[in-house]
């Protein structure tokens, strides 16, 4: 076959195929940018286009950025470059741009309310899978009773949330170490005699807060209360990011920051589809890790999860998602409204899976109990 085609034509064909490859990877969830296509072609010119092994290894080094991409690469490379009847496993695809003719695309698991096959055998505890599409009354969000108490408590929380001491230093009036660079600069005015000494001390930064509010059916009693807490806290601090989750995660930061109560309710109305439905904490956290965590969560972030831990998803998924989140975040605190009940033990599947990865599990059913555990939370966040 090869002898029938001139080498230049073959090269051109291969090059054309190659330019589409980064786009195909992007469609499969790789963090590949526009410039990478150029880089890939340049690299391929250096290593030669027609040796499949070298090309594979070089592109793998060039286009992968993290471990999971690394592991999926071979399969995708085969799917893109090998003729359809030679590749063994069909690749998972979710965008039309990169589909191959003759492929047999697996339906992608979207995690949005479809039942898993094996779920039917597992007993349902208090939560269910179904999303509730009926509308929810958000008027309670701005109810007047306790409004002042909630605001006062959150103000106290915000004030006590002292800044984390970093290892990094900055100039300070008094400090541990002499800032020689600054001192010398200052001494120029007095002819090289350092009259005025400058100091360095550890810098302090307030932690960023990410709130994940469980609004599934089992949490109906508490979710409005938590939402009001989140709203009061967002009013106090700038660096607070709130999300609600049930079977998936939705950002509500903007809606909660809306000063006009009516418009806040309206916005929540629009995004609250699935409110008081089933819970899949693990899947929700996986989605959070994928879509929001890279942008939001850094090493000075405290993640606060407010949930009862009743999860219908796989505990394994929850556990793995928390491990991944733990690597990014500084602290993970879990407030559980059921924690205070006499005889409560964290035996709910979700709770048991989550417990080893938490920095603090605290009760939080009402204002009084949150006020009581506030010092512990603040300790845990430092």
């Amino acid at each position: 076959m090869l002898s029938l085609v001139d080498a230049p034509t073959l090269d051109a064909l291969a090059a054309a195929r190659l330019t589409g490859f980064p786009g195909f990877l992007r469609a499969n969830g790789f963090a590949v940018g526009g410039g990478d296509a150029v880089q890939a072609v340049q690299a391929a010119q250096r290593v030669g286009l027609l040796d499949p092994h070298i090309l594979r290894w070089s592109l793998q080094a060039l286009l992968c950025g993290r471990c999971d991409e690394w592991r999926r690469f071979d399969e995708l490379f085969d799917a893109w470059f090998l003729p359809p009847n030679q590749w063994t496993q069909p690749a998972v695809r979710d965008a039309g741009g990169g589909t191959l003719a003759g492929g047999n695309p697996k339906p992608r698991h979207t995690g949005s309310g479809t039942n898993d096959d094996d779920d039917e055998v597992r007993p349902h505890i208090a939560a269910s899978h179904d999303e509730v599409l009926s509308s929810t009354d958000f008027r309670a969000l701005t109810e007047r009773d306790h409004a002042l108490d909630i605001e006062a408590l959150m103000r106290r929380f915000a004030r006590q949330l002292k800044h984390i001491r970093l290892r990094r230093e900055s100039r300070a009036r008094h400090g541990r170490r002499l800032d020689l660079q600054g001192t010398i600069r200052r001494s120029v005015a007095s002819g090289g005699t350092p009259f005025q000494l400058l100091w360095k001390d550890r810098r302090r930064v307030r932690p960023r807060l990410v709130l994940l509010l469980d609004v599934s059916r089992s949490m109906t009693l508490y979710s409005f209360f938590y939402l009001r807490l989140a709203r009061a806290l967002s009013a106090e601090l700038a660096d607070v990011h709130s999300f609600i989750f049930h079977t998936r995660v939705t950002a509500v930061t903007q809606a909660l920051r809306e000063p006009d109560p009516w418009r806040a309710q309206e916005q929540l109305h629009l995004i609250a589809q699935g409110w008081a439905g089933g819970t899949r904490i693990g899947d929700s956290l996986v989605q959070f890790n994928r879509e929001h965590a890279p942008r939001l969560v850094h090493s000075r972030t405290a993640v606060i999860i407010l949930s009862d831990g009743y999860d219908t998803g796989e505990p394994q998924i929850l556990s793995e998602a928390l491990v991944a989140l733990r690597r990014r975040a500084r602290r993970i605190v879990w407030l559980n409204p059921l924690c205070r009940r006499p005889g409560y033990a964290p035996v709910a599947q979700g709770m048991a899976a989550a417990l080893p990865h938490l920095d603090l599990l605290a009760p939080g059913a009402d204002l009084a109990s949150i006020a009581a555990v506030l010092p512990n939370i603040i300790d845990a966040l430092h």
Partner: protein, 301 residues
């Protein structure tokens, strides 16, 4: 051209093996590509799979210097890039004051002199871009440093230049071969990942580990080496907190040789237990190895 590249890969692979590092061909071709494109290489993988060793052996093969920057929490520009030698600067100012002969023009010159390269202490990053011969720059465990440092690093890695406010911009005289390692204790920024070539290093498979043991511990007999590797491979399959890396395998081999053990078998479980501290490094993991389990593992080798 195709054959050429494959030859290059094979050649470098042999050279690396000569320097004591068994590398798979994907890693070797990434090393070649890194030189072609002038891009840094980001190595990820569990602790003890030989990430740092890649940089060391690359420096040995290329017969060039290895400049190492060990990252830690709180690492800042002064420790990583450059610092002024304040003590000498102060001394120079004092000397200048007591110098009666100095005229005005001289003074201006001397003042300039205070912020010149003579008073600059080069830290690893500055040193690396000022070398005549391109060195290997190893930025070890970059995940321990914080995001702010990653941002500094990005500037250096994209333009290979450093700006020093008092002195101006220092451009690279040669572009170093940059190897960055990460243990994955913290997610690295996407910007840094995008800038680098990427290579994930897994625990070695049986054949590769056997080759490493044979290379690094030539006194161990073939049968023993075979057994050691089989044993370690099955230990790695267990659910442990800290899986043994290659360094642990080699340590353990040395320990077994020191005790004069020539073969792993069921009856030698007691003696194997004595040496297991070289392989198992946490208390919880140690509890997973009662004599019965060790005997079973040894019998399976």
């Amino acid at each position: 051209m195709i054959a050429e590249r494959m030859l290059e890969v094979a050649e470098l692979q042999d050279e690396l093996a000569g320097a004591g590092y068994i590398a798979e061909r994907p890693l070797v071709s990434a090393l070649l590509l890194m030189q072609d494109l002038g891009r840094p290489l980001l190595l990820e993988g569990d602790a003890g799979v030989g990430k740092t060793e890649v940089a060391k052996v690359l420096a040995a093969v290329r017969k060039t210097r290895l400049i190492r920057l060990q990252c830690y929490e709180g690492l800042d520009a002064h420790a990583a890039m450059y610092e002024w030698n304040y003590q000498r600067q102060l001394l120079a100012i004092k000397l200048l004051e007591h110098d009666d002969r100095a005229n005005l023009k001289d003074l201006a010159q001397k003042e300039q002199d205070i912020f010149s390269e003579r008073y600059l202490l080069a830290r690893p990053l500055l040193e690396a871009i000022r070398c005549e011969v391109p060195p290997v720059l190893l930025i070890d465990e970059v995940d321990r440093a914080d995001e702010a440092f990653e941002a500094y690093l990005l500037e250096l890695l994209s333009d290979f230049q450093l700006s020093i406010p008092e002195l101006g911009t220092v451009r690279a005289t040669s572009i170093p071969l940059v190897v960055i390692t990460s243990n994955g204790t913290r997610e690295l920024s996407d910007a840094l990942r995008r800038r680098c070539l990427y290579q994930y290093i897994d625990y070695p498979d049986h054949a590769k580990e056997l080759a490493i043991v044979r290379k690094k511990a030539p006194t161990a007999e073939a049968v023993l080496a075979q057994q050691i590797v089989a044993f370690v491979q099955s230990v790695r399959r267990m659910a442990l907190q800290k899986k043994p890396g290659i360094a642990e395998t080699l340590d353990w081999t040395a320990a077994l040789l020191r005790l004069g053990i020539t073969t792993l078998d069921k009856d030698g479980a007691e003696r194997i237990l004595e040496t297991l501290s070289a392989l198992i490094k946490t208390r919880d993991d140690r509890a997973a190895f009662p004599p019965a389990v060790v005997a079973r593992l040894a019998a399976a080798c």
